[in-house]
Symmetry: C2
Subunit: 395 residues, 2 copies
Amino acid sequence: MINALYRNMLSGKSVIRELSEYAQNLGAQIGEENIFDFSLGNPSVPVPQAFNDRVVELLRTESSIAVHGYSPSLGIPSVREKIAASLARRFGLPYTKDDVFMTSGAAGALAHAFRLVAGPGDVILTFAPFFPEYHPYVDLSTGAKLRVVPARTEDFQINFDAFEQMLTADVQAVLINTPNNPSGVVYSEETLRQLADMLLQKEKEFGHEIWLISDEPYREIVFDGRQAPYVSAFYPRTISCYSYSKSLSLPGERIGYVAVNPQSGVSSLLVNMCGQISRGIGHNCPSSVIQLAVADVCDMTADLSIYETNMNLLYDGLTRLGFDIVRPGGTFYMFPKALEADANAFSRKALQYGLVLVPGDTFGVPGYFRIAYCTDTKKVVRSLDAFERFVKAEY
Amino acid sequence: MINALYRNMLSGKSVIRELSEYAQNLGAQIGEENIFDFSLGNPSVPVPQAFNDRVVELLRTESSIAVHGYSPSLGIPSVREKIAASLARRFGLPYTKDDVFMTSGAAGALAHAFRLVAGPGDVILTFAPFFPEYHPYVDLSTGAKLRVVPARTEDFQINFDAFEQMLTADVQAVLINTPNNPSGVVYSEETLRQLADMLLQKEKEFGHEIWLISDEPYREIVFDGRQAPYVSAFYPRTISCYSYSKSLSLPGERIGYVAVNPQSGVSSLLVNMCGQISRGIGHNCPSSVIQLAVADVCDMTADLSIYETNMNLLYDGLTRLGFDIVRPGGTFYMFPKALEADANAFSRKALQYGLVLVPGDTFGVPGYFRIAYCTDTKKVVRSLDAFERFVKAEY
């Protein structure tokens, strides 16, 4: 019989997808140029030319079997080696290839990470605001439950009081996302130290390990010339889930990795377990030619400067219009407070001005909205006029 | 805590992998040229040049976002359209893009197919000899159980008496693999008609649907100028699971699809459900550039003729030595009867002659062994001398 679990999921609509479809239809009516679609987090800059050149070189010079042959289930060894060496060099942890498992992007990485350290009846904690796909990722993986710690809205760092209350003995893993979708906030060193301290303390209290799963696809998109503090450096039992979708601007190629902190003492065990998890979820590695090409450009990024340009334009323009915004430290998102308590009503009104904004309810923080500004800078500039007309007419 | 399910799987060794590693070590000692490694089903011919050319053309002429941007979760619409049109043209069923879901190879396709139509407590039946990875595929997917119908060793078609006995009301799906790994046998039209008749009869008797999951990565590797009967044409509730790994010889690119028979009346529902299943297993599509390139060469194959050449050499040579073999109709496998009842003992002795053969126990048929002849023809010819020395000395 047809599986009711997945059948019933079809009636649960994605707010983001609905908004995006609505925007497309509206665009067809009033003209694309009058629609400011800030709904989708889809990278808008080109991949580095070196990536495409490397793919072409591989196809032209290597044997078909070397380029298109089976990859071992943990990933191509030379690829894992290059990525581990890059991580070790950049972040000062003694990664080797045995700590790295190649995945189909961050979604694939998280699918493995959850299964590594959680099972039926366990709890995974995360922090609002959070990426809504974490719910199906966890709910459909291991029988564990995802619980969400309320936001600390003054700066979108961690609400430690609420966290401590919710950090009960059935919590096996804590999931963080910094730089954060949707707030754009980068967790500070102080936040990460305090988080690590609390986890270590609770591990002792509960007598079992608590794993930190770090979802970090925006790690390289950081503003003001800074670097995001590297999560794994703060806590030994960290599983880093990375994707090249944003840093190299190739989301369709589905390439990322799990990197287990070698200081956990069990990194090689967990990486080998990922190979077993893969057998049940039909993973069997990302594309071999994409693995080989990414490994050779893994220290590069696309030209990500447009995101900072857009952020500054929007942050300055919107604060001038009276919006209350925690200034993003990275990503291509910001998460302002709506101008009325009901962010859904706010977003519906905004649509009449061509502004497609996602209400914060989806991210676990009602009364806020997300702007995904991975778009053309000219359009960002023009959107500020639309924002002004919207605010002056409605509020 | 670390998930015991996957941790414990690490101690379960793969017979095929162990043999392959043993062969590599032996090769280092006595010379690669003296090892005849028939253990792995790894395609040995190059991808068609047109595939690589199309990748290069896409990278050189299309925008980065068109080539490397997010694919919708069901796959790129133009890709699904081209594949559906090809299937419709070749097999006479009215496929449209709504019936096709792009996957990471056949493993990804099966991971979705099992979740579509089976849940906890259900039974999926398959037929010996069978690909041993079906066990983790099913056991780790939906809580269903895989049961194996004993082989009909005279021709490796279906043992219908045993099948009818095992086809009880808790069976929700039947899984077949034709052309078959490991036997190389292609199910005849008569077999498929009889299978469909029995399923239709039992559906009525039980008052519920029974789905036929058809794993067909070897569909294009058929000998004697024939075509493999197309499974879905025989039974409306068929889910075809395909991979381009073998036909285009690019197993590392992880590209395939689920095609649900449009005559099932629910194909579009099931394809949309695949999009939901993906959210839990972190699938999110195969690589976009690989999707785009494969769609443009989906009616081509690599030069597969070497497999037929190798099959004929081995079949003739081994039958002359007294082996009892069902002549393969396709694939790059054959599955002869061992020369003693214990195929494990037989394979161990064979190793002393440099012959790496996989005992049939792994495939659910003790007393037989698998030869994977996706290898150099010269080596196949030389292996016949090794087989002769082996047989004359030991039996």
